[in-house]
Symmetry: C2
């Protein structure tokens, strides 16, 4: 076989694999949005079957053989060409998948599936003890998983690499150790100032009206309804079935206005990213985002950098006041802007504001690295959690439900996931600064509700490439430097010195 034939054979298999990933996505979306309760046992089987077949398809000897044969050919291609990147990405995926025995993968999947229920119960009763043995088991399995990737600099590297390809533990530690003291300092400065009033956000806001307003904004952002839809779910998420079918969800609280709007804006960022990936990458793993961190950079940008900016609300606030005249008619733009940007250390990550959010992440990252490398025992985790909370945010959780048991991630075995949230914040500010060099009038455009140039810039620089480049490489190509905390610190400082006047 000549290399072209080998490549088209590899693509044929990978297209099939990608179809299965799409199907998995639909099974998951359906489960979270519309599936009747009675479907859950069956859905578990369907997901297991598709996962199993997808694994077999990708980690097959045939794929390994084709990849081996294609290496010399790949070496002759333009390294930035779709084909060269395709071979590189598939090779990486294949090596990851085929390195770990299928039965360990199955054991992890099973343990995570069983653990969910235990975690839910432990959280409901605020009793970490009920979850301890289960977490120990998952941690031990994930350690075994990581050990299959020896040699490595750090045992946490292979876990992080599942979410941020190419990023090392040392990289994120370096970033966060620079970031932390500055964020602590910022919080201290804010806490000395008079707190803003956000009581008017806690009134009755009609669900339908909230929904319509969100739709209006994300349509202006560039979310394409011919290639997507929005539904309700308990926890907001984005599911890209394929490039032409990108689904976002939100939840609406009728007694707290920000919840639905900002989760809609957040998920629309994920959705616009997916919709903007080059169609030539469809039906390959390159048609997904570059990493969770890059994905989060887009969602946090549309949610926060744009959606919580004064420019944005100078355009949209009169519109919002028209929809909710009783609730907001007497609230000034300035008061509203400050309220949606109120900073207040709190116990729960998902409710955290922009200034405290990264603190929650850094705490988790330190603890999970310590767990994985064995310097922290599972039994000592609640105490370590509470000590970190006190140190970072000045709070002590009254119980484990509001502390160490709050997140679902560890019960799913997702060690390595948390840092992507904070990285997304950093990258969003980096991209934004770079974008402003090309579009200095972006702020003025936002003030008239025009996001076309901004979204087009993101599409050109970020979205269309899909997963062709690893996250560090992509950020470097666009901004000229690697992932860097400075732009985000500048962004936070500028924003909050103005709001809290220090």
């Amino acid at each position: 076989m000549d290399p072209e034939t080998q490549l088209s054979e590899l693509k044929w298999i990978i297209n099939k694999y990608s179809d299965l990933v799409s199907v998995y996505g639909l099974l998951h979306w359906d489960l979270e949005t519309v599936m009747p309760a009675g479907g859950s046992a069956g859905r578990g089987h369907q997901i297991a079957t598709i996962t199993h077949i997808a694994h077999e398809t990708l980690a097959s000897d045939q794929v390994g053989h084709l990849l081996e044969q294609l290496q010399p050919y790949a070496g002759q291609l333009d390294p930035d060409s779709d084909d060269a990147r395709f071979i590189q990405v598939i090779d990486r995926l294949y090596r990851k998948k085929s390195r770990v025995p299928a039965n360990l993968m199955a054991e992890i999947a099973k343990a995570a599936s069983d653990a969910h229920h235990v975690w839910v119960q432990a959280r409901e009763t605020a009793d970490f003890g009920r979850f301890e043995a289960t977490l120990e088991n998952i941690l031990s399995l994930k350690r075994q998983y990581a050990e299959h990737f020896q040699p490595y600099d750090h045992i946490y590297d292979p876990l992080l690499d599942d979410y941020e390809p190419g990023l090392l533990t040392a990289d994120v530690q370096a970033i966060f150790s620079t970031l932390r003291p500055h964020q602590v300092e910022l919080l201290r400065a804010i806490s000395d100032r008079q707190q803003v009033d956000d009581s008017f956000l806690h009134q009755h806001y009609d669900e339908k009206d909230q929904w319509k307003f969100g739709v209006e904004v994300i349509t202006a952002y560039g979310f394409d309804w011919n290639h997507g839809r929005q539904d309700k779910s308990a926890h907001p998420f984005t599911q890209d079935i394929n490039l032409g079918d990108v689904r976002i969800t939100t939840r609406v609280l009728e007694d707290y206005l920000p919840s639905a709007f900002f989760s809609t804006a957040h998920e629309s960022g994920h959705g616009i990213y997916c919709q903007g990936i080059d169609p030539s990458l469809d039906r390959t793993p390159l048609s997904r985002g570059a990493s969770l961190g890059i994905h989060e950079s887009q969602s946090r940008m549309y949610e926060n950098v744009i959606g919580r900016s004064r420019s944005f609300w100078s355009h949209y606030y009169p519109r919002l006041q028209k929809i909710f005249p009783t609730q907001l008619g007497n609230v000034s733009l300035d008061a509203f802007y400050k309220a949606i940007n109120k900073v207040e250390p709190s116990l729960i990550r998902v409710e955290a504001d922009e200034a405290t959010y990264n603190m929650h992440i850094m705490l988790r990252l330190e603890l999970e690295i310590a767990l994985v490398e064995g310097s922290l025992q599972v039994k000592d985790l609640p105490e370590a959690w509470n000590a970190h909370m006190q140190e970072y945010l000045g709070l002590t959780p009254p119980d484990d439900a509001l502390g160490v048991l709050q997140d679902v991630h560890w019960s799913h075995g997702n060690f390595g996931y948390f840092s992507t949230y904070a990285l997304g914040n950093l990258i969003s500010a980096q991209l934004w600064e770079r974008m402003l060099e090309d579009i200095p009038e972006a702020g003025a455009q936002i003030e008239v509700g025009d996001f076309k140039a901004i979204t087009a810039w993101m599409r050109e620089k970020v979205h269309r490439h899909g997963a062709k480049y690893k996250p560090q490489e992509l950020v470097q190509r666009i901004t000229g430097s690697k992932i860097d905390q400075e732009p985000y610190l500048r962004y936070l400082t500028n924003k909050y010195t103005e709001i809290y006047q220090f």
Copy 2:
């Protein structure tokens, strides 16, 4: 390997196969209800991939080998046991699937997929000539398909068998040749009488109110919302994802009351059937209905035998009048009952009443048998269609769109499908007569809106068995005779002599 191990290995493969069938069902449901337009290209690929893997899974050498080894063991089992029936059903499926070359199956799937578009255009322009070559191609492929099942009594047998396992062309011809003259005679008698007035059905009826009324009725029928849901789609259908997740759809016309209600009642019959299948058959092909005809017997029963009965409306009409006081306040129960049972020969099958419906089916059956056996040429089809319409219903279509081009089935290559609609009508009346022997008070129960005993009887006799028995065998077990036209003729005659007083 001992037979028990072989059997559990076979079940493991078949469970996987059934999961893929469930996934296919979800892909189809999603496509028809919620998928954004941009998803269609990707969805085609996903469906093709799942179909391909499902075929490979079932028609594998491993399955063939296990089945062969299991034959002596199966011979020793109670022939009605789940395991004996499981082996029998899988053996039948395997033989059907493995007998036809995979590339012919792919060619048929491709031809049908391409044909859909051509058929839509031909129908839009009412020009059969545009569809002729395409239909010839599909017909030729389906003939090739059938020929792989030689020897047979009739080349149409293998096609019919895909929808009605075990039923022969000669069987349906015998049934329909007895049925036809009686139905013609009944129509003649009705046409001599004064026509009933149904003008009040063509008023504005609010969509939400229609929807709520339908939900109220099918909940009383026994449709289980924990194991199902209802959505809107262009064409109503039922999709059983698995036994715990059975989805029905309907369409609502605001200017014609019967459409939504009777399609809801119809699909609920399919849905209640699926929900009533024994959970021990889940994740096997036995967890689907026995055949399309048996399925249709349940949908037509809840739609017509119950849903268009005087007993039913004596309970529900006051309720409906309360919902639509302006439209129905001055219409008597008798006038309403007659209106929803109005008989009028018409050109379009899907709009036909109970007395004319089977005529539409018999016409199609005769024509498609003639096409498949080669006694009718595709080019002569429109003329033959119009001649039959004139003979059976006294009407001549003004163009091919309202005639030979009205149904999608042939463009999909679904030769053999149509008769199942008429068989369903016949079986519904057979089961009903038998049920009345056990529950003589069924009519009185319907008059108070109580369907529990009726649905429980159907569950016990029909639903729970799934596809354990072939349709003829199932009907014989329940009623003591094979599929028979007499009960249905009695049902029609009783009903219409009362309405049209002849």
